[in-house]
């Protein structure tokens, strides 16, 4: 008998107690705030230790490029094929060093891990409750972009903000068709050394969020 058959047959021979259904199990609705969503969402983001700026849709590409210039990273990852990336490339400052991430893990990884100072990506949506940003990486913005460089700048549209995780999954059941879905809340962190919180454990040390109204 294979391991699979043996395990399943033992499980089928057992009976696990059925849960007793009660009223308490229902979800409590969580509506988005109706007044000043922007300010409140920015506050939630800041609580996660993200750095936030905001702009309107029209000024967005330039506002992102300006922020990148302010940071002044040596080499920056900007996708040449994503909708956001194309808008940005049109405004690339002459002396800035921008590179398309290509296939990041199939090239010289040492360079990817050490030389890229910042990456810019778009986002899929966001969760108001926890100040979380949902990313669905694809061939235009591979997942390494939001993971390896020490600074991640992400653009979030206010119209994509959902109340909380439970509603998000109801609204986007098709997310399961993507290879990888990421919910990101603040920069990478750890409290593994004597419960002292430190940022930039393995992922980005800084998370910059551009909120677009």
């Amino acid at each position: 008998m294979t391991a699979r058959a043996a395990i399943l047959s033992r499980l089928k021979a057992g009976v696990f107690r059925q849960p007793v259904a009660t009223q308490a199990a229902a979800d409590v609705p969580y509506p988005l705030p109706t007044d000043n969503l922007r300010a409140q969402f920015i506050e939630r983001l800041s609580e996660t230790h993200a750095e936030v700026r905001s702009c309107d849709a029209e000024s967005m590409p330039q506002a992102v490029v300006d922020w990148m210039t302010d940071i002044g990273a040596q080499q920056q990852w900007v996708s040449q094929t994503s909708a956001l990336g194309q808008q940005l490339w049109k405004r690339k400052p002459k002396d800035a060093v921008w590179v398309d991430p290509q296939a990041p893990m199939d090239q010289d990884r040492a360079q990817v891990f050490h030389d890229i100072g910042l990456a810019v990506t778009s986002s899929h949506s966001a969760l108001f409750e926890t100040g979380t940003i949902a990313l669905i990486p694809d061939q235009h913005e591979p997942r390494t972009m939001s993971l390896v460089p020490p600074i991640h700048l992400v653009v979030v549209h206010l119209s994509s903000v959902v109340g909380r995780f439970e509603e998000w999954i109801r609204r986007y059941p098709a997310c399961a068709e993507h290879t990888n879905v990421l919910m990101i809340t603040g920069p990478s962190k750890t409290a593994d050394i004597q419960q002292t919180l430190a940022y930039g454990a393995h992922g980005p040390k800084r998370l910059l969020v551009m909120v677009v109204e």
Partner: protein, 457 residues
């Protein structure tokens, strides 16, 4: 599971107190559940979700497997730790990788994976900061969420200095930066990555991982091959159940409303994608779980989502630390789980080493009645003959007041004749002094008080 392993309390008297660390975690959790009614509602909900999944476990496992296979994930089943070791070893040989980068996985500890791979000339590198520290020190995790909680900043500084050839520093940011640099070179080279899994959604075949550091994401993104390993009890029915369980998991574990990363994996990279592993494997481990599933009461321990809250709140764990248990899973959950996991040493004393204070049960986000299960373990245990006789006498004395009083009086009078040497107890302490009067005598000698003043005191 050969010989009985007692709880080792005084093995390392230098191990610092866990109190401050536990207070920190207790406090952070409490802030996340300010309203006890709300906690109760969430707890009932999570418990029901886990119980509903478990009551349908074989069908859900089959459904999950079909969904994962359709997504391109290769599913392996392992009845024993040897099978799991061999499966992962073989995948590593097929990949021709010599180093494995590991995200945090308690199940990989349960199967002694690092040890097995090292015995075959392969390297396994822990990349979670806490696990990395523990591995450098040649130890095992003392807590399932905070593996290096028993180490002080000074310990870690000295450890890094000795092993990594870096200057001694007590700056935590610098220490983390050292770990980050060190492990980046591993991620650059590793051909295979391993991770645990927090939840598997049967309807979509999703592997869900939660973490704060990003090493879990790196281990499942940078290498060409990703191997996930988990116990068969981790399956839930719907992807929509996962956010509800994460809600209580991260709040109970580290007092966070959500971890930095929630990572959903649905398969290897598609042809058009530019990164991600080219192959994804999942190893489903049994190791005694299916036998546990057949046990009417004890089966409830399979509901556990490994948040660690029961450890943080346990007065015994806080006092003795995780290593004292000598099992992969320490603390209250370890006491009810370890006896069923066949790879772990026999620990007949563990269920007795509890005050039954119930703190674990009170905080458990999936409502496992840990104290009841401990009592059940005690009831099932066969006591040594001598202990059986002692309890039989004890029960006889307590059922016969006259015999009780007579022998107590005798005891008090003969007490000076008792030996001053009482085995292990007197090696470190003086023998306890008995009172010259029994409690009954003292009570009788007290002036009678009115009910009123008694109630007011």
């Amino acid at each position: 599971m050969t010989e009985a392993t007692p709880i080792r309390i005084l093995d390392n008297p230098r191990e610092p107190s866990f109190r401050p660390a536990m207070d920190y975690l207790i406090d952070k959790r409490a802030q996340q559940f300010p309203d006890s009614d709300d906690f109760e509602r969430l707890r009932v909900q999570s418990k029901q979700l886990k119980q509903a999944a478990l009551s349908n476990l074989p069908a859900l496992l089959e459904q999950a497997e079909a969904a994962m296979v359709a997504n391109g994930i290769q599913v392996h089943w392992a009845e024993t730790i040897e099978e799991a070791q061999a499966t992962i070893h073989q995948i590593m040989l097929d990949t021709q990788a010599t180093t494995m980068v590991k995200g945090k996985s308690m199940v990989s500890e349960e199967i002694y994976l690092n040890h097995h791979l090292e015995a075959h000339g392969l390297r396994a590198v822990e990349t979670d900061m806490g696990e990395f520290i523990v591995q450098l020190a040649g130890e095992t995790p003392s807590h399932i969420i905070m593996p290096a909680i028993h180490k002080s900043k000074e310990d870690i500084a000295a450890l890094f200095q000795a092993h990594l050839d870096v200057p001694y520093t007590l700056d935590v940011d610098e220490l983390i930066a050292i770990g980050r640099e060190q492990l980046r070179t591993e991620f650059e080279q590793a051909g295979i990555g391993l991770s645990g899994v927090n939840f598997i959604a049967a309807d979509t075949g999703t592997l869900c991982l939660v973490e704060n550091e990003g090493n879990g994401r790196l281990s499942t993104t940078a290498p060409d091959v990703h191997v996930a390993i988990t116990g068969i009890e981790k399956v839930v029915a719907h992807l929509a159940d996962v956010p509800k369980l994460i809600r209580v998991l991260t709040r109970s574990a580290t007092g966070q409303p959500i971890t930095t990363y929630v990572n959903w994996i649905h398969g290897p990279r598609k042809p058009e994608e530019r990164d991600g592993p080219r192959a994804v494997h999942l190893v489903l481990l049994d190791n005694g779980r299916s036998q546990l599933y057949q046990k009417e009461r004890q089966q409830e321990s399979l509901q556990c989502i490994r948040c660690g809250a029961c450890m943080n709140h346990c007065p015994v764990y806080t006092r003795i630390g995780g290593h004292a248990y000598n099992t992969t899973y320490p603390g209250p959950i370890g006491k009810i789980l370890s006896p069923h996991l066949t790879s772990l040493p026999d620990t007949p004393d563990h269920p007795k080493a509890s005050t039954l204070c119930g703190a674990c049960h009170t905080v458990c986000p999936v409502g496992i009645p840990i104290t009841d299960l401990l009592l059940d373990h005690r009831a099932q245990a066969t006591l040594p003959r001598r202990e059986q006789w002692i309890w039989r006498f004890w029960s006889m004395f307590n059922r016969h007041p006259r015999v009780y009083r007579m022998s107590l009086g005798l005891m008090l009078r003969l007490y000076p004749l008792l030996p001053k040497w009482l085995g292990g107890w007197t090696r470190h302490r003086a023998a306890p002094a008995l009172s010259h009067q029994s409690l009954g005598q003292k009570m009788a000698a007290r002036p009678k008080k009115g009910v009123q003043s008694g109630a007011a005191s």
